[in-house]
Structures are given as C-alpha cells and as structure tokens.
Symmetry: C2
Subunit: 386 residues, 2 copies
C-alpha cells in the first residue's frame, strides 16, 4: 500500500493496526494459530528516534498493564554489530543470515552446541566460533567493545562500522533515558530476531522469569520497500505484539484486567402485559449513562427474576407488576447495599413526592413517571462516590 | 459453541460480536469480499420481546448516526404468515422454501415475472399465484387480514395459525412502540430473507430512497441449534449488520462521522542534541490527557517543522532549540488561535514566573521545568470551553 501511494503520502508516517492474524504451525503455549497482533510502524524516518518512539510505546503498554521492570523488559541489539564483528573476523558476508539463525538458538541449545553447529555448517575454525559466541554473549556496550579489542583486530576496516553501530545504540539508549523508561531496557548482543529483512536495530520484549517466548519483536527494515518495488529506499521501523504471550505473562501474575460488570440496572416484568411498561422504562434509561438489561421473559416466579438480576451484576432491579402499576408505581430493589435514606429524602424533597421504603431498606415503590429520573440520580450519586 | 456448552451456560444469553468476515462473490456496490459485521443474538428466549430488544438496538444505532425515520427503516414480517397463507391455499409444505426464494425477487423482477415463475416452477394455478403475490404485497396487518378474508377460506384449519402469527407481530409492534421507535418500523409481507433457517419473525433494514441493498437482516431461528445437535430446541433470534451498505447510506447524506484530529501538541527538536529534551517533554505530557506527536526528524529548516506541525492538526507546537535551552526555556507556538492573555497572566501569577509573549500573540518562551504543566493547563482550559 505504501509503495503504491509513495508519491501521494506525506512522510513520515506513524501507523498502527490490530488485525486478527493466522499462521500455520503447531499450537503451543503462547503460540496459537489465530491471534490478534498490535502492529506499529514508522515509515520515512532514518533517525533512531523512531526506534525510541516505538520502544517507548511498548513500555507504556507494560506500565498501563502494571508490569514493572522487575517483571518484563526489552532486549535491544543492532544487526550491524554482528555484521561488522563477522567482517572483522573475516567471515564471508553471505554467511550472515544463516549464522543469525544458528545464534538465535543460543538460549535453547547452549554455547557448546552453537559452536559445534557454527563449525559444521559454516566451515569456521574453532577459535573463530568461540569468539563469535563470546561477542554475542555480551550484555553491555562496554563489554562488547572490550571483547572486540581483545580480538586484536583494531586495524581492520570494519572497526569504524562497529563504532557507528555502537554510537547509534548509545543514542537510542540516551533517548529512552529521556523518555524515562531505560530501567526496562537492556543491551543483549545475542538478539538477532528471526526475520531476514531487518537491517539495523532489533529488539524483543521478554519476561524476566525466562518462562515464556518473546512478548513482542521489532526492528528496522530499511531495504524491504525497495525489494518490493518502491522507487526509493524508504526507512522503516516497526514491531508486532501478539496477544498470546502477554496474556500468559499477565495471568501468571494475576494481573489480567477485570472486565467491567455488564449492567447497572435490570428491568423485569411480572407478565406479558407489564412488558410494555418495562420496554418504556428501558428505553428512557438507555438514553442516559445508565446501562440497562431488560429481562425478556416475563415470569410470575419472583425467584427466577431475582436469580437473573443477581447474575447480571446489577446494583438495582426495577420490577414492574400489576399491583404497583394500578397505583401508578413501580418497585425498585437494591441488590447490593441498602438505599441511602439521606439521598432519598433529598430526592423526595425536590419533587414533593413520598416513597415507601421497606423495612430492610432495600425496597421502594417509586411513581412510574419518576423512575427514570430516580435511577439516573442514584447512578450519578454512585459514580460521584467512586 | 453454544451447543457444546449447553449444560454450563445459564440462559438467556445476549451476545454480540463484530468480526471481520469474508465471502466469495463478485464485488458490487455495498457488497465486498471482506467486511466487518456487527452480530447480535439472543439465545433462550421464546418471547417476542427478544425481537423487540434487537430491533431497538438497530434503531438506536440509526439514531446515534443521525439517520431519521425519513432516511432509513426496518421492514418486519413473519415467515409464519406466508406459511399459513400457503396452507390455506393448499400449496404443499415442501414448496415453502423455494417459493420464498422466488418471492424474494419481487422488488427486482416485478409481479408479472414472479407470477410466471411461481406457475412454472411450482405447477400452481394462475389464480393461486396472483393471490400469493397479493398477500405478500400487503404493507399493513389490516390489509393482510382483509386480503385473506377475501380468499373466502375462513373455515380452513390454518386460519388460527395465521391469527397467532398476526398476534405475535401486533405484540412486537406494541413493544417497539413502548421503546419509542415505531416510527422506523413497517410491516411488509414480502420480506422473507434469503436464509433458509428462519422460522418466525424476520426483518431487514432499508434505505427509504430504495437505492441500496438491505442495511441489515435478522430473524428468529428456533430450529437451528437442534439441527446442529443440541439436546433440546433452543430459541434463538439474531441479526447481522455489515459495514458496507451503511457506509454508502451515510456517505450519500454526508453523515459519515468525522474522525477526531490526531493530536493536541507537536514536539519538535532543532537538532539531534535537542531531541533529548524533546523526548523528555513528550514523555511528561503523555502521562496526561494531552495527545502528543513527537517529530522524529530534527531539522534546522524551520519551514519543514511548521509544515509537519500544521498537517498534524495540533493546536500548539513546542520547539526545542539551543538558544532557548541555553536560557532554560523552550518555545511554544500557537498554531490556530492566539494565546489568551488573561489565561497567561493567571498562570504566571500562580507561579511567580514571567513569559515573553511575541507581538503576534502566538509565540511564547516558557521555562523548561514548567512546560508540561503549562500545556496541561492550556489543554484543560480548551476542553472546558468546548
């Protein structure tokens, strides 16, 4: 889409989407065939500020989900680091992608197996493989620089390339520090991400317990648009954040957000004739902030009606029955706390009306003409007291 | 899902979903291969109050989209009407579904063609076909009763069935009247809906100009669950409301909702060093109600920065540049209206600060430490004045 509209769009773009995605693979914990994925991409920005903006967005979500830097974090690296280190060690360029795939397994299969695999698949010397693993095991920029210095290849042409990659990472970290979120961020030279098209900085969200897969992943992919036919190279950074792993992370910590109760008031009718009044009250209340569930099956058995109202999570039930209607009234029951007598007196004094409050303080007959207003005031009082 | 959980769920259920749907067919106006569809279903309610609740929901959406009863409506019928009329005219039961499909074309191909098709496909006498078309052309319950009376078949066993279907429709209309939405609703005996599984009341949303396809469609399908293996018959009513036709209806009337502007403030940096301050201000403001767009490409060319801020629709731009930072300040520009001097004096007096307002009333240097608070107050003042 971006490529076909390249000339019309005004860059930079900041886009997001939350599509439902599918993939064909075996279902595992935190990995399903169907999921929702939050994507954010910034198109047209070379500056590492784009990476900072996106990582800040992810951490803002962490924070709004009450996940601290003791729970989750983001590991950041740059593909340029490994790329230049391999050059310094005279490993051919064309081996880069497949070495990435081997190194991506470091966590799962351990250093020794990775060294073996590198020697076998890429025909590299044992010492060279050890050095590669040593480099990608670095977890600070300082350690990385120190390790490269020990390789004694200061004179190699790729050293300035490595320096510039490290400068870019330093700049990113200083921006994230300004954003106030650096406590969530660590450098990790082993992060390379599975996708072949990343060209620069890459990152992944992780759970500190180490129990789950990556929470999210992203990076810069400056060449992709040209690959698909764009006239010019278009700078792109983006990430994908699926709903599966984060749900596991939240569930484990009992941090899954509570969904709000579904209604404030249930309106019930004693029989078919009373349903006419119930519909009318419902319609009036639905024009306000009050959330109303109309009970659709008029039942003479009061027990059923209460069961239904109770399950709904409502605070009040309005019950429309022939005896009260004959007196121009409807009954309202408080399902949780009692009615507040002071509130009632205030409400009555405003309208010169009298209500009959039952002895348990939970039942009241209100004039049919006032019921909608009465419930709105109860609702407003309750919202104000929260 | 309902069938597999039949024993655990507590009925009745009121469910809705808004999935993305696909279908394989030719793309036409108001009919695409991919669309979003709002579905609502009520499961476990025999009472026609369920139909009333769903139709009320559709009309509530009409109203919130500012579509009056002069723009759109809902045509209601019951399949039981046609079913019993066919019985009265001694048409075999098994022809019911295919007759529905033929009658569904009445609007498109006209009465004469429908009569021809009925005679050809179902081997019915000409007079019988004329009568069927006469019945389904009725647009009031009274006209329908009158037409059936003229058929002179009062003694037929199916007459009570027709009466009960008409009583059900009358009850539905009285409930919709209580809901206060009857002005949108008409009876139309020709509405049968394409889906074979409907068993009772059916309806479709329509545009009064007659220019578009059905806006939505729904009905009762009491047998479907048993067909798919439910232990007992489960009463179901539901509708589907796609996003394609309603978009056309709204577009034609210039009623498409305006999407809100995307941000309140743009924060821009003069150069890479200033980006550090810009990130910090952005982070502070994003913890408030203020929506902030951080401009990610520091540029010395002030023209570019203004273009970007202007396109964003923001009210203010915060510009972080070395000269002001050296004095501990940042510049804020009003992009639409001027700053209000009274507001400024009030704000300053609270903090014992002085700001330098430019002559055009649109530019101000604010202490770096106060900028976040200052923008929040501007924002609060603006929200309050709306």
């Amino acid at each position: 889409m971006i490529i076909s509209k390249e000339k019309e769009l005004s860059f930079p773009l900041k886009w997001f989407s939350i599509p439902q995605c599918w993939r064909f693979e075996n279902v595992q914990r935190g990995r399903k065939r169907e999921h929702f994925q939050w994507n954010m991409d910034i198109i047209g920005v070379k500056n590492v500020a784009a990476e900072a903006e996106l990582i800040f967005a992810i951490i803002s979500l962490y924070q709004s989900l009450h996940l601290s830097s003791g729970d989750v974090g983001i590991k950041v690296n740059s593909r340029k680091v490994l790329n230049s280190v391999l050059k310094i060690m005279d490993v051919p360029d064309e081996d880069f992608s497949s070495i990435c795939i081997t190194l991506d397994k470091l966590d799962k299969i351990g250093k020794d197996r990775v060294v073996e695999d590198l020697m076998g698949a890429h025909n590299l010397q044992h010492e060279c493989c050890l050095n590669i693993v040593k480099v990608v095991s670095c977890t600070s920029l300082e350690a990385l620089e120190e390790t490269v210095r020990e390789l004694n290849k200061e004179a190699h042409a790729a050293v300035p390339e490595l320096r510039s990659a490290l400068d870019e990472l330093r700049l990113l970290f200083s921006l994230l520090d300004s954003f106030g979120v650096m406590e969530y961020v660590t450098f990790d030279a082993s992060v390379v991400r599975g996708l072949a098209y990343y060209t620069g900085i890459v990152w992944e969200g992780f759970d500190l317990s180490g129990e789950f897969r990556a929470i999210c992943g992203g990076g810069r992919y400056d060449n992709l648009m040209k690959l698909y036919g764009a006239q010019n190279e278009i700078s792109c950074v983006g990430f994908g954040f699926g709903d599966c792993v984060i749900m596991e992370v939240l569930a484990k910590r009992n941090l899954l957000p509570q969904t709000k109760k579904t209604c404030d008031v249930v309106v019930s009718a004693y029989n078919q004739e009373m349903l006419i009044y119930a519909c009318n009250i419902t319609s009036q209340l639905r024009q306000t902030e009050v959330i109303v569930d109309l009970s659709l099956q008029p039942k003479s058995r009061i027990g059923h009606i209460f069961d239904y109202a109770d399950r709904s999570g409502a605070d009040y039930m309005i019950f429309v029955a022939p005896d009260e209607i004959a007196r121009g009234k409807v009954r309202i029951k408080a399902l949780r706390a009692c009615f507040n007598e002071t509130d009632l007196r205030h409400f009555m004094s405003l309208r010169d009306e009298t209500f009959e409050l039952a002895e348990d303080g939970k039942q009241l007959d209100v004039p049919l003409a006032s019921i909608s207003l009465f419930v709105q005031e109860l609702h407003a009082l309750k919202s104000a007291s929260r």
